[in-house]
Amino acid sequence: MPKLMHKKSITIALAGNPNSGKTTIFNNITGTRQKVGNWPGVTVEKKEGSVSKFGHDLKIIDLPGTYSLTPFSIEEIVARDFVLEESPDVVIDIIDASNLERSLYLATQLRELDCKVLFALNMADLATSRGTKIDADKLSELLDVPVVFTIGNKNTGIDSLLKVAIKLAGSKSKISQKRKVKYSNDIENSISKLQGFIEERIEQNLPYNIRWTAIKLLENDKIVRERIRQKIGNKSLEIFREVETHRKHLLDRFDDDPEIVMTDERYGFIAGIIKEVVTKSTKRRIDTSRNVDLVLTNRFVGFPIFILFIWIMFQTTFVVGSYPMEWIDSGVNWLSAILELFLPDSLFKDLLLNGIIAGVGSVIIFLPNILILFLFIAIFEDTGYMARAAFLMDKIMHLIGLHGKSFIPMLMGFGCSVPAIMATRTLESNKDRILTILITPFMSCSAKLPIYILLAGTFFSARAGTVIFLIYITGIILSIITGRLFRSTLFKGADAPFVMELPPYRVPMIKSLIIHMWDRSKMFLKKMGGIILVGSVIVWMLTAFPRNINYSMDYNKEINKINTSFMDKYSNADDYEKKQIEKQKNAAITKLKLAEKAEKAEKSFMGSIGKTIAPVFAPIGIDWRGSVALLTGFVAKEIVVSTLGILYTAEEADEPDALKNTLLASEMTSLSALSLMIFVLLYLPCVATIATIRRETGSLKWTLFSIVYNTSIAWAAAFCIYQGGKILGLT
């Protein structure tokens, strides 16, 4: 039979707690056919995937992981709005079976939302091994919801999960109204009275199910109130008045806010379900995760291990990363050598070789570093260690006036400020978020690393690692000072509560690590193709033009002069002397050629710009070339290295250490190199970061503040280092 039937398209939303294995299941269903984007208007990551299965086109949406649907955090608002406004055909709630009780809180909220919901009891094997048995049939019966067992990391049960979801989506039967949460009599009373009141007053349909609306109004849900006000205008005032009466009544009755009482009662309802569904064996079992944690957060060894992990992360990034770096480097050199040989001399060749290949080549070399760094961050996240890092660090972070969770964005700041600043969304208090955003740029991002590797490697050879480590530490210390300073001035007030789950340790899945790492490295590569390419071309143009320079002398004539003068000496010399003369001649010519190049760079547009701003940088030991490089770093920090490469035109471009040697031969000293590194560490963030700060703070004021603050601190710190060092007689 020919398949002419139109495939039915079904939208499935995945909901669930953080650490419930939701992402693993999403990865298993969609494989690599994922689209990662943002939820409209906000920067919470939205993952979508499409797959054809069992005769249906399935569109899978991964909702943000949340513990609740109470609209406090942006993630919760996004998740709830999606279910309410986009009405997916089915919502699958991924429930961590070994954490059933708390997971059911979100589940009951979804159940109340009046959508077609289905439970995936995930990792039940783990729960069983811990002595917890769950009666799925009973659970299904009690909440009137289909329940499917899944084991995400073994890809078990996924097909039957999808089959049940498709069946549920196709079923015409109305969503069962029974067996949702049952509250105490007083509250149920108020709910039904309010429900009746709303039904009576309002002819047109309210946006949502009436019982749910009544519950949310009793809970004083600001978003639901606002939606109702928009929908029915002045009539809403009548309803709100009635709501107030009920709220007051309940407040008198329970001596507490209705939303608090209802939260309590929801858990009470859940406790009832748990009693009927879960059987626990009394046999004590070894809880590996707990034992591991006793070591990793141990009073004595917890911190040393933490520091060791971070040290291993950076060490691996640099040491292991240096091998593929060499391969990429020789590949780029080989390419430019080939092109040099086969292309005729032209402006285009100059652009291609000295602009594009030199620029992009000097940056792509750091791809291995970045991959490794993101791999480590993915491992920390997927194993559950990230939460322990926050647990260990909270006391310290709290001293700065920050939440332990702020440590996570700050740690990610070592990778790239853009995702790091996005990660501040996990912070609930706006103050915490803005403060974290302001200090995250002090965490030295991976794009700055190439600059340190070049400068420290050149001027501190054997001690390069230590110097780079100290640079990172300087950034951390300055962020602490900044945090304290701002907390006691600009951001006074109470801190957000530190209520954080410490998920069990898990062995990370290779597939998920790779997806994780790849998603983030992709950002780096995209930057490469876009901003960095454009930046390199602009920098090349500013360096290559104007074409007709008024040189201080006629270099060609001078070279000819040397040639002729040596010719005279040459004629009456013996073989040995001839060789000596030849050497002298070549040296003289090279010197002239280099001087010509230097003068060309100096008199280019870039040179003029650099010289104009150079006086600002003179007190911190940075010459006009450094100034230009720093300017171009605004586009992306990686470009600083390629700009230095272009400006200090290396003698023999095909020699790998050319830039190093040229830098060593230049008037740059280790002290001024250090000052330059410190300035790079602290000064204004790159365009992409500034755009993210603007979007995440939603305020131009904070964005400008961040730029000005960072740059002033950078200058001041570099000034102290350079002038201080000079006084101490260091070079």
């Binding site: 513990y67 954490n99 709290h398 789950e501």
Partner: protein, 80 residues
Amino acid sequence: MLLSEMKEGQTGIIVHVKGNNGALRRRVLEMGLTKGTKIYVEKYAPLKDPLELIIKGYHISLRVEEAANITVDRLMIVDC
């Protein structure tokens, strides 16, 4: 007694969660720290703050100052 006064390895039942900020208090409750919940103090962080609890079969961390908002009845059993 207050939760913040409990020592590592002690067990208790939550009697009351107080707090001036309704939204934050509700967040604590939504994570499962509700009245009548059995809690076990797993450990304090190396710097004595925050502390780690086991409630409803999972591990959660709280700051000492937040734990000071939670009144508990200590249970004299050595089991969790």
